[in-house]
Every structure is written in C-alpha cells, then in structure tokens.
Subunit: 348 residues, 2 copies
C-alpha cells in the first residue's frame, strides 16, 4: 500500500518531551505524511503545534481517533499504550510504541534498525522501540559483535534528566537555580515520579532510574539487560547494568566494558569497524582531547563513540564511552526510523 500522497501518521503523547521530538523528526526527515493526527490526554488537548508551517490542534486520544491512521507513534506512558495501541491496530494502524508496555512480549519485535531491522517483518501490528539507554549501546556494540562476537557487557550509565520527561528538566533547572541562590527547593519528581521518595538531582548523582525489582536491580537496569539480549537474539549474552541519573538535561553517556569472543583484536580494529558502522560517529583522539560529550550530542541523530581502549588485563576486554541524544536516537528518531524501515521493507 505504497502511498504517494503520504501516510496518515498519528503521534500519541504529542505534547511530551519525546512526542515533540517525534513531530520535529518527522519534519526534519521529510517523512511522507499525508495527514498528521496529534493526540494527547484530555489535559493537553487543545494545544496547538507547528508542523511544516501549519498549525495542528492536539486532540484527546479516543479509540475512534485512530480511524484511518496507518502509522501510530506512541510515547505517552505504558498505560496509554496498553489501552490505545490495540485500538489502533484493530483499525488497521501499525503501532510503533516507545513505552515499555510491549517490549518483552514475544509477539512484538523490539527494533533498532541498525541492529535488527529484519525483525520488523515479524510484527503483528505493534513494533516496540527499546529503552533509550539500550538503543545507543546496541548501536555501538552490534558492528563489533558481527565481526568478533560478544560474550559480555558491563555498563554504567550517566543518564540525562529528560528521560524522566519535560517536568523533570524543569525540576533540574529550578532546583539548580535555587541552590545557586542559597535557597532550598523540594524535589517532587526525581528520581522516579511514581516512587515514594524524591531526591535532589542538582549537583548530585542518583543511582536509581525507575523503581527497584526484587533482585536489587532497577527496572531500568533490567530493561538494558533483557532488551539487549532480545535485540541481539542472544539470550545467553552476559549483560549487567548500573543506571545513574546525573544533572544533565539531554544526552545519555555510557561507560561500556565488553568482551569479544575472538582473540587478538586491537583497539584500532574496534575503531575501524565503528568508523564504518551505520548510525555511529567515532570521536576518539585522546591526543586532541577528542571524545563524545552529552552537550555535543544534543540534536544529533547519531550515536557517538570514543575512549575506545583495550583492557590492560584481558585480551578480549575493551572499554568505550557511548553518547547519544536520548530524546532522538533514544526515542523519537529510532521510532521514526522504524517507520522509515516499514516503507523501505515494503511493509506498509
């Protein structure tokens, strides 16, 4: 059903931090849109949004909102996806869902186009977009895995506040200003809006993203672990994660230790592979103090990799520093990219 007039696309959660980026990314990529429907909760309905010079009014999402929609990009929280994604599918839409609602569902492909684009073909109406911190890591690791194998990952993250939404960024800014003024500012959102206690993020590092699971890891950490195995089709892969929120607005950074299966690989080999890898930009000249940083990744679609070096003790071990815009490759851009893949693979 190739559509020369463009597709009818819906964005659910259009006024959120990621939803806004989805709309901008559709415009930036000149995605073939015939009609754009913007949906939200009743609270944000009525908001007017610019798209390609036209003003579109955000409407409250109802099951009927999805009549005629071909591609629905969801980013309004797991409960909204659980409620409305089946309604959209029932009406013929393909849902690309940026929440964790369906990611580990065995009938739902979990897709990062640079890694497992072909999995899209298995979709049953819903395609899941992985967690932000997972996406940038697998984009950087997959080209290495393909050539040298991969047996283990130990990752520690330095995650931006925008991963908790626009209100969390506002909390970071207002709290930072209050502390600089010598005032106090009660934390109300971070580390997790729905959890019991809230802590200062300004000038701090909080080792909690999402709530805790029974094994002592947080859900964010378990997402990185389980999603990586699913995306790479490697249930046996050893993955562990420590996820930490730091006072950065946009841009996740990750300290990634990994072990390949092949002997005798050098740091230069890894650099060479990544230099030619899709969606990856290598910034790795220590002699010029060149390495990726969150503030430089803002607004970029790529994943930036640097500090690539071989472990001093383990011949198969390597370290690298991986940075990406968590709202773009970590969310909006990966979702739009999946939509582009649908067209490319002739699935819509």
């Amino acid at each position: 059903m190739a559509n020369t007039a463009g597709y009818h696309v819906a964005v659910v959660g259009a006024t959120g931090a990621v939803g806004k980026q989805m709309i901008q990314t559709l415009e930036r990529r000149n995605f073939p849109i015939g009609k754009l429907t913007l949906l939200s909760s009743s609270r944000s309905a009525g908001t007017k949004v610019q798209f390609k010079g036209e003003e579109i009014t955000v409407q409250e999402a109802t099951p009927e909102s999805f009549e005629g929609v071909q591609i629905a990009l969801f980013s309004a929280g797991g409960s909204v996806s659980k409620k409305f994604a089946p309604e959209a599918v029932k009406r013929g839409a393909i849902v690309i869902d940026n929440t964790s609602a369906f990611r580990m569902d065995k009938d739902v492909p979990l897709v990062v186009p640079e890694v497992n684009e072909e999995d899209i073909k298995q979709h049953n109406g819903i395609i899941a977009n992985p967690n932000c911190s997972t996406i940038q890591m697998v984009v950087a690791l997959e080209p290495i895995r393909q050539l040298y194998g991969l047996s283990r990952i130990v990752v520690s993250t330095y995650q931006a506040v925008s991963g908790s939404g626009a209100a969390a960024v506002q909390e970071l800014n207002e709290q930072t200003q209050a502390l600089l003024n010598g005032d106090t500012y009660e934390a109300k959102i971070l580390p997790v809006k729905g959890d019991k206690k809230h802590y200062q993020i300004a000038f701090n590092a909080i080792p909690q993203i999402d709530v805790f699971t029974e094994n002592g890891f947080t859900y964010e950490e378990m997402k990185m672990i389980n999603e990586t195995k699913k995306i790479m089709h490697m249930p046996e892969l050893k993955v562990s994660a420590t996820c930490v929120r730091i006072p950065v607005a946009v841009g996740h950074s990750e300290s990634v230790y990994f072990e390949v299966e092949k002997d005798g690989v050098s740091a230069e080999d890894i650099q060479k592979i990544l230099t030619n890898a899709p969606g990856v930009v290598v910034e790795d000249k220590p002699e010029e103090q060149q390495y990726p940083m969150a503030v430089n990744a803002v607004g970029e679609l790529d994943t930036f990799v640097g500090r690539i070096r071989k472990d001093l003790d383990d011949d198969k071990g390597f370290h690298m520093w991986v940075v990406s815009d968590n709202l773009l490759k970590g969310a909006a851009w990966n979702s739009v990219q999946i939509a582009e893949s649908l067209i490319k693979l002739d699935l819509i």
Copy 2:
C-alpha cells in the same frame, strides 16, 4: 618521641580546597598540636586562617619553614611536594603527601589506614596519600578481599569538580548560572587546568580526568589501577577504570563491579561484612530507596556503600555503589588519619 605538649604540624597548600579541609579536620579530630605552621605559595602568603579560635597567618613555603616541624601535610601540587618534601624530611619531619609525586615510589608507603596501616612502618620520611577515587574504593573492597579474595575490578567513576580545586568549583557554579541565564561562559579550567582544551562541565559529563597516557587511559585511571594494586599488595589484581567528571561540587560516586575468588558468596554476605567494616557505612535498602548519594556524603569522614547486588550471570561477580567526600576521606581526612596512625603505632 611522644609529645604531650602536642606536635608541630605544618600544612603546605593551606589555602587550597584540600588544605582548608586538612586544617578543619585537624581541629575536628582534636589532633594533638603544639604548633601549627601554615604554608603556601607566595601568591597566597599573608592569608589569615582560623584554627581553634586563633588566627594563623599563612607564610610562603621555604626550605627553612620546616625547621622543627614534626609532621608536614602536603597538598599543593606535585611540583611543590617534589621541591619541599625532601627539605622537610632533611629537617626531621615526616611528610604525608597528598599529591601523586611519590605514590608509586617503591620506597614510599601508599597508605589507607583501614587497608594497609602497617605499611606506614616502612616509611623513609615520606608517606603518600592515594588518589581520592582510589581511597574510597579500596576502603569498600578490602574487607571483602580479606574474607573472599578479590580477582577483578571494573570501576566507572562519577567524580566531583572539587577534585580539580576550588577554582574549578567556582567555574562550575558561574558556568551553571550563565547557562541558566541563557548566557555563554567560556571554560578555562576543566577538564584539566594544564591541558590544551577546556570544556563545559555544567549539565555535562566529561570522560577525562587528568591528561591522557599513551595507552589511551588517563593518568587518573592509571592511578586507580596502579595504586589499588600497591595498596592491596596485589600486583596481579585485574583492575580497570573509566574516570568521568560530572557537575557535582563535592562527593565522588563510583559504580564498582568486582569478582571474588570464593564460590557461593551472596549479596547479603557482602552487606554483612561491610556493615562491620571500619570507615564504611552501608546504606542499602532499595525497598526504602536508600542508597548513598554525593550530596549526603559531604562533610562526612566515612565511605558509604549501597546498591550491593550479585551479578546475574557470574556467581563470583558483584556490583556496588560507593560514595565519599573526596576532600575528606579522599584527601584531608585520610592524611590526618595517617598522622593519627603514626602516633598510634608509636612512630613519632
């Protein structure tokens, strides 16, 4: 030479971020001081400092400044230590040096009292204080090593700006304010004052602390690696580090992955050991969102450990989150603690 009237103590670098904390820590611990000599560069000489209600004028350091000094605490940069520590030793002082000047010298003990206090006995006039990020990590790992052995460490750090000195903290604050105002602010100090390029630290994460070595690791990373092996007397220990500066004023955090030698150890075993370990406070109740954070560690002498959990794939692997005040246990307090050990071990 037990001194009932108190010792003649000198602090070199008395007006710096760590020097100030050394003076406060001597007062806080009620260290037995007969005379306190405060020394600095000519630039800061003349500054007046309060100590136990008295005003002491900081003097410019010269070789003769050390006449009669029994304990000299140095924290004014490696070149100052190299120049004046031998002069102090020549005049009979025991030097406790907080710079990296002598740390890897085989004739100089590198001491964290909770770990290797006995090494102090081997001193030849100079005792080195390890790097801040090393100290808190070995304090947390040593009790585990003693009972279960230790074969490997992979650490990623979240380090505070005060590790680069008081001027770096001022840069963080002024730059943060400028960015909140929508202004620009040129970075002049961070990541490394003496390096060629300077980058924004506000709302950013910089994967460079100290300059780069030829193997792609920074000196800070190599300090953590080499110092840990020396302090633990384990040249064969596998250690790797990624050191990152984040926009925190005081308090280093560390994501530590480690492997023990013994089979079948549980996270509860690790928690129990650390609960009874010297200098360690366990804060580890995920169900109450209790874990260590930099802002809570400021002003504390202890090292805080939480997020203790067993690796999901490796029976001998564990993860933990280690936080301490980098100016206190990471510098001033560890130095004063070494001075207390000198008295306790009857070495002065």
